[in-house]
Point group: C2
Amino acid sequence: MIENRVDGTLDAMATLEPKRKSIAGAPRVVGITGPPGAGKSTFVNLIIKEARGRGERVVVLAVDPSSPFTGGAILADRIRMEEHALDEGVFIRSLSSRGHLGGLSRAVGQVVDLVDSAGWDLIIVETVGVGQSELAVCEIADTAVVILTPESGDAVQAMKAGLLEIADLFVVNKSDRAGADILIRELELAVELDEESRWRPPVVKASALSGEGVSEVVCEIIRHGDWCEGEGRQEWADRQGRGRVRTFLDLVGEDARFAAYCSLQSERSDIKEALESGNSNPYRLAAEYKS
Amino acid sequence: MIENRVDGTLDAMATLEPKRKSIAGAPRVVGITGPPGAGKSTFVNLIIKEARGRGERVVVLAVDPSSPFTGGAILADRIRMEEHALDEGVFIRSLSSRGHLGGLSRAVGQVVDLVDSAGWDLIIVETVGVGQSELAVCEIADTAVVILTPESGDAVQAMKAGLLEIADLFVVNKSDRAGADILIRELELAVELDEESRWRPPVVKASALSGEGVSEVVCEIIRHGDWCEGEGRQEWADRQGRGRVRTFLDLVGEDARFAAYCSLQSERSDIKEALESGNSNPYRLAAEYKS
């Protein structure tokens, strides 16, 4: 219903009782992002295994931005996660954007809220680093993990500020490759210079291939979760609050857009005709429609 | 005003007289997209030069999706375009997304409409291939150029359908590299199998380094523009019409979102407090706000 924007979805969502009002008893939401090929799925698999070992039930939401340039990588990831396919304690679902009716991050946020109410323990949101969507997904998460490789070094250079804002944990994967130590040092320096936030994102050197640093990544995710429940409780609550305001505003905006879309199919087909024939300025028509 | 969503933007835009109602005398909009490192800026530079040679005035809108992973590449591109910096017939502007108040493609579409009214001859919209934004930008364009390299071969494999829908012209750049001929053959086959569209997107083998195929790219862009004015006039008009409907709906939705945002800062601060404190379900509040 959420993906297809079925009529009545909003009313159904209004009946839910989200558990994430307080962190106690609520599912933990971990966001995993990074460029294609950084090894995101490897770490998702490891986090699943660790959580299953503790008896937690896990949902994985894989965000597919429907890019013609990254589609292949995501398909491959799904196949790799099949080892959990028969485990009833693991639910894996891909979310893709369908056309232009509402953004992808809206759908992800709503599905997280839905799964929240259904009583799962851990929600992992995996997204390929492709622009705005990974930023939005990090905002939904309690703990945002950014996975990089030495190859992405110079891009990081240029955008340190942006990365710092979204990450609670950096992982430098494929650490056997040239440039890994430089990238780690750059990230650590940037983290130290950021005086605003009370949580200092750790930078973990890892190699999913050799196993180096892999358990450390899982430990740091747990440590950040503990911080959210304790010392960082206010920061966590503020982030959740901002997320709820954004959800509210998105719903109001998209509802108005959808109502206009329906109106153009029926009583205001005159506007649709004017727009399609080109004898009109859409800005003028929107201003008139509004009033 | 458009980027910052200044109050009154919509009213100002409503006073414009867009020339793109009919293609005659209107600026041509060329969209250039492809993965990072595919050589987009090289071709943008060549298209600028060719158009300047014919005395046309050119606008370049570089769409920066503010991704932490692609930012570096875009900065480098800007530097490369500096050779046109002193030419008053060339206007280069980066557009980035600012926060969550409205999507990037909305801003691009509005800037294109603005520049249209200002009487430029050619508008080039360059975007890094990063998910939804490049699809939206291709829809804004009259002629959508997708630049690939042999390295992107398998991604293309997976998403042929998506690429075919958006491209009017494929360029396989870095054609000296292994896999170029396979990629070209795959694209040509996919183009032939697509029976729906009357325009068959040509696949140009190019090497920006050696100069191979470069002038052919410019020729094919011009040829597609001619097709839009002649045989393909109805397809072109339909695409423009769909774009105006989308613009209208986006405006209505974002206006409602913005009005709700303002309301939460003043008369309905009670809703904002409820959302921030977490004692509420945003779906329920949105449903109530609506009615």
